[in-house]
């Protein structure tokens, strides 16, 4: 098993000595979705519960249609008068814009991943990693990383169609015998959940190693996928432990940073807004500007902390990749 303590302290050292890599970290913090850590929470707005109507008129539907009737009629008539070609054009323009936006996001995150992975590799060889010398490798890796993301997307879709599909087919077979059907529901559900989680873990490992094979070893996406699967199988337990460590540290750091930010920024924010709330007046422009500044600072701090956590994980995974690759090659040579 690798020395996890040494990996973690080396990662901190790499981040300290290669501060330019923060740019890549911030890009991934700002544009990449998901991961084991997310700082944004879903807040329910308490005021939405205060405005429930006390009584609903019985003739509301008729009244509503009268209010909307004048303009909905005019809009509906206009809608029918417009050529269908224009609506089709609008549809394709909107879909095109959404797809373009998604592609730009893929490009920017792939570029950043490539730059960050290569940057830490340079750092591990005691070479200086800057935006200038890591960006070209990031650009070179964009296409392969995007193709790899598409491969993984289809594998995930296939998995989430295949497993429930098989479950359902077996259920159909057993459905004639009630006892078997009930047994299958329980056993099949449990087995399915374990299979899904297990697959997700393996695929996450494959993603981590394949990205590094693409960026550092210049492998083609599908070749990288196959080799990454072999590496994941050979180093399953050490990789799982590293993943758990990353998750725990990321979650812990994230929670602590939110609490600190809320205390440092939330308390002044509360004292700025509280007098206006008690006096039931609109806050003055200066208060508004101060609140906006506090919110901006909170967002910036959140992005910086998230960037640090991402960089820390990437540095850990780069070292883990080095260990796992050597282990796989040793096994193959034996």
């Amino acid at each position: 098993m690798p020395d996890y303590g040494a990996i973690l302290s080396r990662s901190l050292d790499l981040i300290k000595k290669n501060r330019w890599l923060f740019v890549w970290g911030m890009i991934l913090a700002a544009f990449a979705s998901g991961g084991s850590y997310s700082q944004s929470g879903n807040y329910t707005n308490p005021s939405s519960f205060e405005s429930l109507p006390e009584g609903i008129p019985e003739d509301l539907p008729e009244k509503t249609s009268l209010v909307l009737g004048t303009y909905t009629t005019a809009v509906v008539e206009w809608f029918h008068s417009v050529s269908p070609f224009i609506w089709v054009l609008l549809f394709f323009v909107v879909v095109g814009a959404v797809l373009f936006g998604w592609l730009v996001k893929l490009i920017i995150t792939s570029w950043a991943k490539g730059g960050l992975i290569f940057g830490f590799e340079k750092g591990m060889k005691n070479e200086e990693a800057t935006l200038r010398n890591t960006s070209p490798v990031g650009i070179k890796s964009i296409k392969s990383l995007i193709i790899f993301s598409i491969i993984m997307f289809f594998i995930f879709i296939g998995l989430f169609l295949f497993i429930p599909g098989v479950w359902f087919l077996i259920y159909l077979v057993f459905s004639q015998i009630k006892v078997l059907a009930t047994l299958w529901v329980v056993v099949g559900m449990l087995g399915g959940i374990i299979l899904v989680f297990g697959s997700l873990i393996v695929l996450s490992m494959v993603t981590i190693y394949a990205e590094r094979l693409i960026v550092l070893k210049d492998m083609a996406p599908w070749e990288a996928w196959k080799k990454a699967l072999a590496i994941s199988k050979g180093s399953f337990l050490p990789t799982l432990v590293m993943g758990i460590i990353n998750m725990v540290i990321g979650f812990g750091l994230g929670c602590i940073s939110i609490v600190i930010a809320l205390v440092i920024l939330g308390i002044p924010g509360y004292f700025l807004v509280f007098p206006s709330i008690t006096a039931k007046t609109w806050p003055s422009p200066i208060i508004w500007v101060s609140i906006v500044i506090l919110v901006l600072v909170f967002i910036l701090v959140s992005v910086l902390v998230k960037a640090f956590i991402i960089m820390f994980k990437y540095a850990n995974w780069n070292q883990m990749f080095e260990y796992a690759l050597k282990k796989t090659e040793r096994t193959q040579n034996e």
Binding site: V23, K63, V67, V93, A97, V104, I107
Partner: protein, 216 residues
């Protein structure tokens, strides 16, 4: 790059960015002008629909493609060309290709905007006057014509005058069509008020509780 190459200053780059902003603002105001010339409700809806399609196409595809093309062909955006500056590769001084121009201007700018535009401000501390988006694609912004900044200043002034003129025209059209907009707004408002007046009264809970002797 030879030693005689003059790097563009922050002020010159800001001037070229201002020209670019004025050019795109002018296009946006033209779309608004189209919408503001509608005197009928149906015409207004037609103009809004057309304006929406034009704006989506321009902002999503038009601007990035046109901008990247002229940077790769001529060495700069409208603003850079008018201020006599060019975007060139760091190593050999040639223009960027289409792909690198796109990455620099439409992805690199987003990166430089992180941390409240720190990437843009970085040019003031970098020895090669490179912003983050310049570093990412290994580009430099150089001065090709030393007097051209005067053309840049003149362009900004002309574009400001043009934009103010078009904006004024949009405003006058809206004021001339005030009857249409206020008519629509008043009709919707009066129907909503009618709806509110016709609401059924809600029984007072405390009265009910007093009647049955629960409350005194």
């Amino acid at each position: 790059m030879n030693k005689n190459t003059k790097l563009a200053s922050g002020l010159l780059r800001f001037l070229s960015a201002l020209v670019d902003i004025m050019v795109w603002l002018f296009i946006f105001l033209l779309v608004l002008l189209l919408i503001s010339t509608s005197f009928e409700f149906n015409d207004l809806l037609d103009s809004l629909l057309l304006g929406l399609i034009v704006m989506i196409v321009l902002t999503t595809f038009g601007a990035p493609i046109i901008n990247s093309y002229i940077i790769s062909k001529f060495g700069g955006s409208f603003g850079k060309l008018l201020t006599g500056t060019r975007i060139v590769k760091d190593d050999d001084g040639t223009y960027l290709d289409f792909k690198m121009a796109f990455l620099r201007n439409h992805i690199g700018y987003a990166v430089s905007s992180l941390m409240l535009g720190l990437g843009f401000i970085w040019l003031f501390v970098d020895e090669k006057r490179q912003t983050w988006h310049d570093m990412m694609v290994s580009s430099l912004v150089v001065v090709r014509s030393r007097r051209a900044y005067l053309i840049g200043i003149l362009s900004v002034l002309l574009l400001i005058i043009l934009n103010v003129f078009v904006a004024n025209k949009v405003y006058s059209n809206i004021m001339a069509n005030q009857e249409l907009y206020t008519g629509i707004f008043k009709d919707i408002k009066s129907e909503l008020e009618m709806l509110k007046e016709d609401e059924l009264p809600v029984p007072d809970e405390s009265l009910e509780l007093k009647e049955i002797g629960v409350l005194h």
